[in-house]
Point group: C2
Chain length 217, copies 2
DNA sequence: TAGATTGTTAATCGATTAACAATC
DNA sequence: TAGATTGTTAATCGATTAACAATC
């Protein structure tokens, strides 16, 4: 069967899609049926041409003078983001950040469901956090296989990052959402998305000082 | 006084600096005095040439055959990141994520001290979170001015993002670390660093499916 | 000395932005 | 129709990567 290869969408474009979705929802609630790239750009502080390029990438088609039909646009964006099916994830490290993520309802909207919490500390194991019991990390690999869970969320202290990642890999996990600053060594079968708060903080400092320099120290 | 303009460092480079610092610390504990770009690259999964470019940008100078002196390198990195002085921040939105950030000790290492917690919900106001009392958001602008706080951390639900940002701006804040998905409209005097978890999650999905495609569906 | 490593200069690559014809 | 908006094709820009001479 000849499968026509879908043009792969640049990652920076993909990252902007959630904010486009937010705008589309807002427009829907305002009662309109279409939205132009200009309007989206204005709202997000982007260039209209960039919005059009991004939307073209997901296959959305607009109409001159009207813009993009909200319903169609939403469908195209969701499809491009891979939000058609829900994904289940295990979270390792039920500390402050881990608990916060486990308690955050908003991820359901982005197709993520946290179905297991793991920790290595006996002070936490057995407790319930937002209705989910915290299990010993020892049980992770077997459960991951049995439940067919493919995503891992890593929120352990950085000293334990490697160790925890090893458990996820042993469980056959395919993708890791890594909130530790540690760069993980994973094989070619596994992908990692890094959320690096230290990097972000330092970027903020830099923007601040650049900005001050711009207007004379 | 003729001030020689410092070459501004690319943001992607700045964002990698914290992970370089982590490697340098690790090397120090291992008892060595120098480290090569090759060694750093190997550890982080980068190209040696990129590491050298990055290190050159912060003014670090290495020696052929030896690499970079850890002590000097650390000093140069810290300076480039602007970590010489500590920065105080107010956090708005003492929910799950906000509390987690307030409780995270690791930020001190990156020069950040959270000195005020604010929330609009009377169920939270007056409570103490990790030793800091949660105050009413109403008091934020005045306190920010009085205490000279210049950084704001935004962890409110997205519906209240604009409103909370307005309070920070009223308080004369210069930089916002924004954990809401909402793109804030701030004037030219204020910088925003976005931590967009939805964007990150969607990027992870994309990497997953790209990866699967690469090895035949 | 030989060879590993730095640092500079040039080439490549990918994303953003610009220009403009097509369209409703 | 006139004019706003799309979408394509080309130009620009910035970061990454390559090539290689300099250095210890």
């Amino acid at each position: 069967m000849a499968m026509h290869t879908v043009e792969s969408i640049p990652l920076p474009t993909i990252r902007r899609y959630p904010s486009y979705v937010a705008i589309v929802h807002k427009a829907r609630q305002a009662g309109v049926t279409h939205i132009s790239s200009t309007a989206i750009a204005l709202e997000l502080g982007l260039e209209p041409i960039q919005v059009r390029k991004d939307l073209a990438a997901c296959g959305a088609v607009g109409r001159p003078r009207r813009g993009f039909a909200l319903k169609e646009l939403l469908k195209a964006l969701n499809k491009a983001m891979g939000l058609e099916n829900t994904r289940e994830a295990f979270l390792v490290g039920a500390g402050n950040l881990g608990s916060a993520l486990a308690g955050y309802k908003g991820f359901e909207r982005w197709g993520l469901r946290i179905v297991g919490l793991f920790d290595s500390s006996s002070r936490v194991i057995g407790k319930r956090i937002y209705g989910i019991e915290v299990l010993s990390t020892e049980r992770l690999p077997e459960l991951a296989h049995r439940m067919g869970v493919r995503l891992g969320i890593l929120t352990v202290p950085s000293e334990r990052a490697r160790q925890a990642a090893a458990l996820l890999l042993a469980g056959g996990i395919e993708g890791i959402w890594n909130f530790t600053g540690v760069r993980l060594q994973v094989g070619p079968h596994v992908v990692v998305e890094q959320v690096d708060l230290a990097a972000s903080l330092v970027a903020l400092y830099n923007k601040l000082s650049e900005q001050k320099e711009r207007r004379g120290e």
